[in-house]
């Protein structure tokens, strides 16, 4: 309860700062519009106004402050503008419409989930191989660790174009990017998890004369679950970023990344912000879903909540 109050305070401070920041960010274009509408503005001369500081202009034109929160193409849209845009492009639009964020979100989400499933599946398989084979451990593991320090997302535009040139397009190229971005965190986390049972526990299984397979299913796999879920949460966030970046080089057709790019081409700032919030909501709900699954699995394993 005390935590909730603290979080709410922080969030409301952020919103307040945001509203306050809108005023100096947007004041100049608001004043320009006002001059064009023959209203009184303090430095009436366009040139002096362009060179004046934004904060100073705010104090000289207090009557125009309200307009900074209601501009058509603001430099920084006010929170309620973003919310209105989000509401009107999700609830008030048919989901089949090209302008519906639900449609674009689904395009991105489907690529993310497909890629995440592929990446996680292959990652777990490789981790099992690494744990059971010393050669694989020694040859592959260092590369898997190094791969986390390099920006592999730089490969994204190339993958899109190369796959396009051999005739594959649509959801698959984005899913490939999502897959390899989630692949390496899962490998590293899962290897750690499968190795987490200590020597005592492994010895106990040996005294039961358990086979390698039994040891895997009954000890290693359950023991790896907390590690697996930790890396799954990192992996799904990386997958979403991959799908969004994968939509950029195709030239803004569909998806949240395309909305971002189209918005930045046409100066539609409200559209960019609403796409950004949609992406954030998507990421947050995916991570929350995994957190829920994690709690379910861990409780089934007997961990006390």
């Amino acid at each position: 309860m005390k935590n909730l109050l603290a979080v709410l305070t922080v969030v409301s401070v952020i919103v307040a700062v945001w509203y306050a920041a809108c005023v100096p960010m947007n004041i100049k274009s608001v004043l320009n519009t006002a001059v064009r509408a023959d209203q009184v503005v303090v430095p009436q001369d366009n040139k002096t106004r362009r060179e004046a500081g934004a904060v100073g202009l705010v104090f000289q034109n207090t009557s125009h402050i309200a307009a900074t929160w209601a501009e058509d193409r603001p430099r920084l849209p006010a929170p309620h503008q973003v919310m209105v845009e989000l509401w009107s492009t999700t609830v008030n639009k048919k989901i089949t419409s090209k302008r519906s964020l639900v449609y674009h979100g689904w395009v991105t989400l489907s690529a993310t989930l497909l890629g995440f499933a592929i990446g996680t599946g292959l990652g777990v398989l490789l981790a099992v191989g690494i744990v059971h084979s010393k050669v694989m451990d020694m040859s592959v593991m260092p590369w898997a660790i190094v791969s986390q320090t390099i920006p592999i997302i730089a490969l994204a535009p190339m993958i899109i174009v190369v796959l396009y040139s051999i005739g594959i397009q649509g959801i698959i190229p984005k899913a490939v990017i999502s897959a390899y971005l989630s692949f390496f965190p899962v490998v590293v986390g899962m290897v750690k998890g499968l190795r987490s049972p200590d020597a005592m526990q492994l010895d106990l299984l040996r005294t039961y004369s358990a086979s390698t397979g039994q040891g895997f299913w009954k000890l290693r796999l359950p023991a790896s679950m907390p590690y697996l879920f930790a890396s799954l949460k990192i992996g799904i966030a990386a997958s979403l970023v991959g799908a969004i970046v994968g939509e950029l080089p195709t030239g803004a057709v569909a998806g949240l990344g395309a909305r971002l790019l189209a918005g930045s081409y046409y100066g539609q700032t409200v559209q960019i912000w609403s796409a950004l919030f949609a992406a954030a909501l998507l990421a947050a709900s995916l991570v929350a879903l995994l957190g829920f699954l994690e709690r379910l699995v861990l409780r089934r394993m007997g961990e006390k909540a």
């Binding site: 050669v135 451990d137 020694m138 592959v140 590369w143 390099i150 997302i153 535009p157 080089p249 950004l276």
Partner: protein, 279 residues
Amino acid sequence: MVFLAFAVLAAGWMLNVRLANGAQSHTRTVQLAVPVIFGLTLLVVWELLVRGMHVPLVILPAPSLIAQRFVGSTHILWQDFMQTFVKGALSGYLMGCGAAFVTAILVDRSDFLRRGLLPVGNFVAALPIVGTAPILVMWFGFDWHSKAAVVVVMVFFPMLVNTVAGLRESSAMQQDLMRTYAASYWQGLLKMRLPAAMPFIFNGLKISTTLALVGAIVAEFFGSPTVGMGFRISTSVGQLALDMVWAEIVVAALAGSLFYGVVALIEKPVTFWHPSQRS
């Protein structure tokens, strides 16, 4: 040549099996040699397959071609590196991590603030923050300033969360001990709590190295001057000059691992007392 490729793959793997299961498998040389052999084998197989199956350049260039292009255009690559890494990523990294560090120390003084900011910070750290790139490019222009701004936003929250967690690391007993020494807040911070937080701080710094490069490169996809790694990648992809793209990726990989390596190298003497460094 395709047959030769599989022969090389088999030979390399056999050699690694030999080395890994041999008597010398615990020595440092072998532990270094095995991944290197594996990497080299993959490179040779790649080269042979591309040449043997006549894969066109626009799909996958051979490693030798990439190396040639890398050596042939070091000047361009160096300029791109300076623009994206030094000006964009590094300056953003220093500003972002510095700001997060100072914020963490301020937040840490108030229990209320910490309990409010930590969940928010954790939440934001999981979001696709690269999406702010188009907005920041619009605000700060096409040059490196906007890239540095994206990097600042990207590294701030992971760094903040890690530093705040680190500052909570010292136990009540240790803090009581400092109080019995009549240590002031600053003495306690400098002599005990900051050193205790160092493993966490370096964890944040290491995570941020990759994020910084990713942010700087992706931000260039949204608009940049005619120089920079992200710019070069997106335009070379458009011209189907894939050897240049790969050369640029090699630069990114080298820069990323060097950056990480330098931070890890600094970490070693600073946190020499921590169990993870002693083994």
